[in-house]
Amino acid sequence: MERTLTFSEALHEATAQEMRRDPRVFVLGQGIDDFKGFYGTTKGLVEEFGRDRILDTPLAEDGMTGVAIGAAMAGMRPIQTHIRMDFMLLAMNQIVNIAAKARYMYGGQVSVPLVVRGVIGRSWGQGAQHSQGLHAFFMHVPGLRVVAPTTPYDGKGLLLQSIRSDDPVIFIEHRMVHFQRGHVPEGDYTVPFGQARVLAPGRDVTLVGVSHAVVECMRARASLVEVGIEAEVIDPVSLSPMDFDTLAASVRRTGHLVVVDSSWAFCGASAEIVAGIAERLGTTNGFRFVRMGFAPTVCPTTKPLERLFYPDAADIAEQACRLLRGAASDWRPARIEAPEILEFRGPF
């Protein structure tokens, strides 16, 4: 029988396995050793590996990122965690000015094998400062790898890949992705950077979703069948480098592209995805596209506005249908519930 795990269990397994295999690996972050175990992903690790390798840190994002960079330069393989991606903004200088550039500017003498895990904290009224998807900031900077896996399989394989990478990796996890369940092999395997995953085939339209948005794209795909539209769903998995070849090949066939980000569209990953595909297809092979993401405003806390702020599966399906059938299409799919959002309860 197929062995399934949730995404957070998959990250837990990858971390434990790699810590057993490689004594250079250690984890540091606020509350990393507490009973919640960083959304379950580090639960019990302190019992197995001790407090020398599972390090609870002070509230000092900037300083501790520098500490992790120093340890990485010394040959260790730190994994740093942030319960909200928003807090990575306090460490921007260390990540952008040092981690991303050290190897290059020191002429290849050092590397910074650091993994920074940042959680997008959507749901339950997280509001303006606890919900941001900031991956585009990091994608902008050469020298950083940026990944945002969504299947448990990719979660485990990419975390192993990230830890073993000699370069700094920004590893982005959506809170709602933590609950995704799927096949995960028990053994050791890696998923390479720069390889997109086709989650479902289709001939009419290509749906590309970043992080949790791809889960919603899968739901949208199921409802599009109702109106005879077959959508191909692709998870880029790795945002930098980005596997434009897989994306472009799909759009070449379907001629239609809907990109849905777990962030804002303006100057975001979706702009890059569309541009990268256009560059590969050229102007002769025109394709039609639409970009979707957070509403271009600050994330409100109140429920009715929060609902409008995030595109959902029905919005995606509706947009895809209009893209194919024209603006006159008045098909509006029935509400497509996202159980992970529906069932999520606070306080956290």
């Binding site: 606020q30 509350g31 507490d34 009973f35 919640k36 609870d56 840190t57 002070p58 509230l59 000092a60 994002e61 900037d62 300083g63 928003d86 807090f87 306090l90 339950w124 009224g125 997280q126 509001g127 303006a128 400062q129 606890h130 509403a295 405003t297 600050v298 409100p300 806390t301 109140t302 429920k303 009715p304 506005l305 409008l308 702020f309 309860r345 606070g346 306080p347 956290f348």
Partner: protein, 312 residues
């Protein structure tokens, strides 16, 4: 009379948060809440010693501060419920309270980030020669952030009229202070940066009030540079959410016992004349019932609100 004022404010805050905790499980508040139950007396005592136009900044744990500063109870509850009648039209929720009408100038979900704003506000007051005082409230976790040292250094350098109030409840989420700080002495840290500091080992509202009044008078007269108060206290409930969490095991209930026994609300209650106390409590209970009803009955913000206030 001081005792009455302190009691009224403290009773209101305690009961409001108890009610917030009670209704939370019914999902009327669809957002994280951080309760101050057990440590409210700090905000109450300090704010009673301030003038109405003195300024305060806080953290995501600021229900007590907002109400102590004279904030609008109806507006705060409506904000927690996410309603259009909230102080920020439902856009802020519990974590980002700000109300210019009572000179509460901000609170942030990102630890430590409002500390420099208090310094900057004080800088502006000093530039304009306005004899007002700014108070910055934060937890002992914020002291670990770089911005704490940067802000205190600058406030001391410029001798700005800021009172820093560190509410030291001993924990950042589930991690005790000793596991995070080699020198778990906030006063010593402040002094090393040039800020005079005083430690309050017990939660005594009257004593804190009197000392704040003295310090605020000196700050207002421009006679001295910034001051830090380290006020020891205890968080009775979980870090985020409404419940008690002693069963989880990161802190023993026995540790809370002395704080529960020394409850500032009960201490003040004992000093008040019972009939007077009853009168205050009845008035406040009516006010609370009205405010919850108001929050419940208020409308949701309309869809057009999604984009209002994005730019001036």
């Amino acid at each position: 009379m001081l005792l009455e004022r302190l009691y009224r404010s403290l009773y209101l805050i305690r009961r409001v948060e108890e009610e917030v905790a009670r209704v939370y499980s019914s999902d009327v508040i669809l957002s994280p809440i951080h309760l101050s139950i057990g440590q409210e007396a700090i905000s109450v005592a300090v704010c009673q010693a301030l003038a109405a136009d003195d300024v305060v900044f806080g953290s995501y744990r600021s229900h007590a501060l907002y109400l102590a500063k004279g904030g609008d109870l109806r507006g705060m509850l409506a904000e927690l419920y996410g309603k259009a009648t909230g102080v920020a039209k439902g856009k802020a929720g519990s974590m980002h309270l700000l109300d210019t009408s009572v000179h509460m100038m901000g609170s942030s979900a990102v630890v430590g980030t409002t500390i420099p704003h208090a310094v900057g506000y004080a800088l502006a007051l000093a530039m304009r020669g306005e004899p007002r005082v700014v108070v910055s409230f934060f937890g002992e976790g914020a002291v670990e952030e770089g911005v704490f040292a940067e802000s205190l250094n600058y406030a001391a350098l410029k001798r700005l009229p800021v009172l820093f109030v560190c509410e030291n409840n001993g924990y950042a989420i589930h991690t005790p202070q000793q596991a995070r700080q080699a020198l778990p002495d906030v006063c010593a840290k402040a002094e090393s940066l040039g800020v005079a500091a005083e430690c309050f080992a017990e939660l005594d509202a009257e004593r804190l009030y009197h000392r704040t009044s003295e310090v605020v008078a000196e700050l207002r007269s421009g006679a001295r540079g910034p001051v830090l108060f380290e006020c020891h206290c205890y968080r009775w409930r979980e870090h985020v959410g409404p419940a008690e969490d002693f069963a989880i095991g990161y802190r023993p209930r026995s540790e809370a016992e002395p704080w529960l026994a020394g409850d500032s609300l009960a201490c003040l209650a004992r000093k008040l004349d019972p009939t007077q106390r009853d009168a205050i409590e009845q008035q406040v209970e009516r006010q609370i019932a009205d405010a919850f009803r108001y929050a419940q009955d208020s409308p949701w913000p309309g869809a057009e609100e999604l984009y209002t206030d994005l730019f001036a």
